[in-house]
Point group: C2
Chain length 567, copies 2
């Protein structure tokens, strides 16, 4: 392995070594994937090294293989050349690294050309897809089949990979929100070049994509958040379109009630009334969706003071914390769930239920009111009648689609929040939203937090002071990944054009990643800049996965160090 | 490794080599576990080699360690001595091998002394238990805490291990029926002796037992149906006691309607109306619960002819196929589920709903009617009013408990069916039921079958003729393990005192295990006699798990060949 080409994502700038690769290697890559599918020029490599986080690495080439067979051969070429192979499906993992490797000098594989929907089984409600298949593509395909099945999606871009997100253990917005949990039956290329079908059954096992655990050891988990193989196709369970659905919301008006909201939510989740797709977002995150950062209203502060946040909340009619979720089922079950939710959140804030009819009404009402503009009579009437601002109501419309598994580009523009190149929310792109291309600054950190009042309170007490001490706005959401656990997700917005802020956000990031685990909050999804210390609290586990890595990839060719494995 | 001590479970009798072990090894085992916790005498070893299946092996010693630390040291002693280590939790895996290894000459570890309930978290609804904790013990403990939480159980013995069953991927009888799916956060002893906590977080990670996938590769699956480590404790999710519950049943009166019942069930399952704990059992299996085998009514046949089965069905008021399941939730949800179930099964047979009230009524009514005996006026009235025989009604009472997670010993006596030492059902033990001790004959084979009409029809068409051609009664059940998949479970009852039948059942077993995978039905739980060919249809997967085995257990000390791994 060419150690000289390696340095870490910690360095803000790519190493000068990073572009050094023998031209004969590039020729071999081109011979496998085709000339057009190998990018190696400085301009191309620059374009593939864009993300919104405060870290950058650069690979030696980006290859777009067309098949598992090509993937297998490319891995062997890389191994021969001493190059690390870093694989992404689409590279839309914004804020975690996008297409970038954790180290300079890697060969980047982007699997977006492998975008076949290999099967949709309507009866058993699953699809088999390749890594290049996007949420938008799968959704459109299911729609063309009559939309009897829903694919879960995230509130990120429709151009993201279904499998890529699931393998990173992303969380979505329907009853099938646990994306890794919905995977069933994989095909994987190992570092040796071997192609493996998981599940322990024959190629024509009928339950290959209906029964997850298979026969013998369950190995699929090894290929999630890891570098032990490259998944080239997988089954994913789909949700039969329910008879009814209601989007529900609760405005929690006091910070100190968030822990109680967590308790209410856990009871509902454990009782099976709500599915694990509930989001609790604070005001800053909601504002990031609705407006540009109020730079002009700051008085020398580097973050919004509480009074300004309160003003903005009033202007946009949002609460300090907003609970959003959706319930599905037959009409009687949904109606029953609505009752239970109202009961559970009683006393914590205003609960609203948005069914299809209410949604259509709001949509029809929005257009004329919108023409009046903020502060107009029409706007004031709308706010009085709807208990919501126009922009908030519009956001709910988009969320309603997302919670039906229909991906959109509205929510994913929130990383534009502190981007000074955009003076108004309305200047953000409506389609082809790409915060990495557009110079936005944001990174994430996400921790597992049990859904209890105590754990929620402790988490807030642990991280909020750190964020504020570093002079940043505290933005966060709590996403239920199962009935017992939140993904506690912090967004660190920064102005990427401001070198001081870019440097400071890195300090904040490191301190949060250090503090949260010491308080018992385990980081559950990691950026390329956080792998080095990720498993330091679990040395026995790190040794185990290290042994697995040496067994399956003795040359350490696949993404060395990814998720702390095989460093 | 002492190869001479190894021969396979295929041999019906233990090898004479099996008892050969150096006395100094036994002394070292005793020094670790204590004299009383090491069994090595021929009598003791005989007692530990009892099961109900047609295969027997014998170990060199059985050790009952008291802690993970002792397990770790015992493994190293075995490795030094060239002994294979075969581990069971309680050894109640009747019909699959019980306490027996797949090969003679192993050191058997029985973890039953490690029976601490380490934690019950009432808020987050989980327990952390050691392998020796039984269903009965966990249930009693939860009852002592006010029964706010239910542990799932099986319809096997209350003395079986909660973890043992989950690691074998057993299926239960509440909404948490996917037992492996309910495990969260393990502690494992590796062949090296190292103790590993899974999950990738710190020891005090708050989500250790609430969030299954953890950080980095998910490895817990490696320790299920495998020989890659010995699980010494694990978290298991518990079900909050629901407000309401109804046991439902449907009598399917025609064989040809079973596929349609599968379709109806899949739709209910995918819609979330019923949970994955529905059992569809055929008449032979139900009869095995209710009566002794009608040897006296056979006319030279080796199996019950259709006319006799029909007679027995009439006498006991059972259907050719019986669907049993339970729904849980708040009252409104359960009432709604009852309506949906009635609608789904309409036209397939009589549907009955048994709530708590109906259950109490039946219980009160049973005693006086029972005194009258079969054929009495009381009996005839009961049958007319209840649409059920006394014995069937009694069985439903027991099932109702099981579907609440309360384990009992009624159902598990079905392997006594063909045991000629018992003339009447009433002679079977009521407590401490132990079909292995009592000389019963039965083995199992279980395959994954998607829940569709077509797959169900194909499965029956594949296996039924084989069973009947071999001269055995076709007994089976379809258990939903998730919304898309049945465990298709075949019971091969035989008279273990009849050498001819014992030999013939072995031929039947082998033919079914050969035929079903060729028709796309993957075996999903295996007996010690079926490991050799288990992965032959999945050579790439077998190579992968073989590599993992060599990495984690280079000396091949842990259960070589278990589930086809590391042969």
């Amino acid at each position: 392995m060419a150690e000289t080409t390696r340095d870490h994502a910690h360095s803000a700038a790519p190493s000068p070594h990073s572009a050094v690769v023998d031209p004969s290697v590039i020729a071999r890559l081109r011979a496998i994937a085709g000339d057009a599918n190998v990018h190696a020029s400085p301009d191309e490599m620059h374009g593939h090294s864009l993300d919104i986080g405060p870290f950058t690495t650069r690979g030696v080439a980006v290859v777009f293989p067309g098949s598992a067979n090509e993937v297998s051969r490319l891995v062997r070429v890389a191994a021969d050349a001493g190059l690390a192979v870093w694989t992404v499906s689409k590279g839309k993992n914004w804020g975690y690294g996008a297409k970038m490797s954790n180290e300079n000098g890697a060969l980047i594989l982007v699997l977006e050309r492998m975008n076949r929907i290999l099967e949709v089984n309507e009866e058993l409600a699953y699809a088999v897809v390749e890594p290049g298949v996007t949420y938008g593509q799968l959704n459109a395909h299911l729609e063309s089949l009559g939309h009897k099945l829903w694919a879960d999606c995230t509130d990120s871009t429709p151009h993201a990979s279904v499998l890529g997100n699931a393998l990173e253990r992303g969380v979505g917005t329907t009853a099938y929100a646990d994306h890794f949990g919905a995977l069933c039956g994989m095909e994987v290329v190992l570092a040796s070049g071997a192609l493996v079908r998981t599940g322990g059954g024959s190629a024509d096992s009928r339950a290959r994509h209906t029964y997850k655990w298979g026969t013998g050891p369950f190995v699929d988990g090894l290929f999630s958040q890891s570098n032990l193989g490259i998944v080239t196709s997988a089954g994913i369970w789909l949700m039969p379109a329910p008879e009814a659905m209601t989007l529900f919301g609760c405005n929690v008006d006091r910070d100190e009630d968030v822990p109680a909201a967590a308790d209410a939510l856990r009871r509902l989740s454990l009782a099976g009334v709500v599915q694990p797709n509930v989001h609790i977002s604070n005001d800053v995150l909601v504002l990031a969706n609705l407006v540009q950062y109020p730079y002009d209203r700051l008085r020398g502060e580097t973050r919004m003071p509480p009074s300004l946040r309160a003003e903005l909340r009033r202007e946009h009619m949002i609460a300090p914390w907003t609970v959003i979720g959706a319930v599905y089922g037959d009409r009687a079950r949904v109606a029953n769930a609505e009752r239970e939710i109202r009961r559970a959140f009683r006393g914590l804030g205003r609960v609203e239920m948005i069914g299809r009819r209410k949604l259509a009404l709001a949509r029809a009402a929005l257009a004329p009111w919108r023409r009046g503009g903020r502060g107009s009579l029409a706007d004031r009437i709308f706010r009085r009648v709807a208990h919501s601002s126009l922009e908030r109501t519009e956001a709910l419309q988009h969320l309603h689609a997302t919670f039906r598994g229909v991906p959109g580009e509205f929510v994913v523009s929130f990383p534009y929040f502190k981007n000074r190149r955009y003076a108004h929310r309305s200047e953000r792109p409506l389609v082809d939203v790409d915060p990495a291309r557009d110079g936005c600054g944001m990174t994430w950190a996400v921790f597992a937090c049990p859904i209890t009042a105590r754990d929620t309170r402790d988490f807030l007490a642990c991280v909020r002071p750190i964020v504020e001490r570093h002079g940043f706005d505290f933005s966060m959401s709590l996403l239920t990944i199962n009935a017992r656990t939140f993904y506690a997700l912090l967004q660190f917005f920064f102005d990427r054009d401001d070198p001081d802020e870019s440097a400071r956000v890195r300090g904040l990031y490191d301190e949060v990643l250090d503090a949260a685990p010491r308080h018992g909050f385990q980081q559950v999804r990691a950026s390329i800049a956080s792998y080095d210390r990720l498993l330091e609290h679990a040395p026995d586990y790190a040794a185990l996965v290290g042994a697995l890595k040496r067994a399956l990839d003795p040359e350490n060719v696949l993404a060395p160090g990814r998720y702390g494995v095989g460093r």
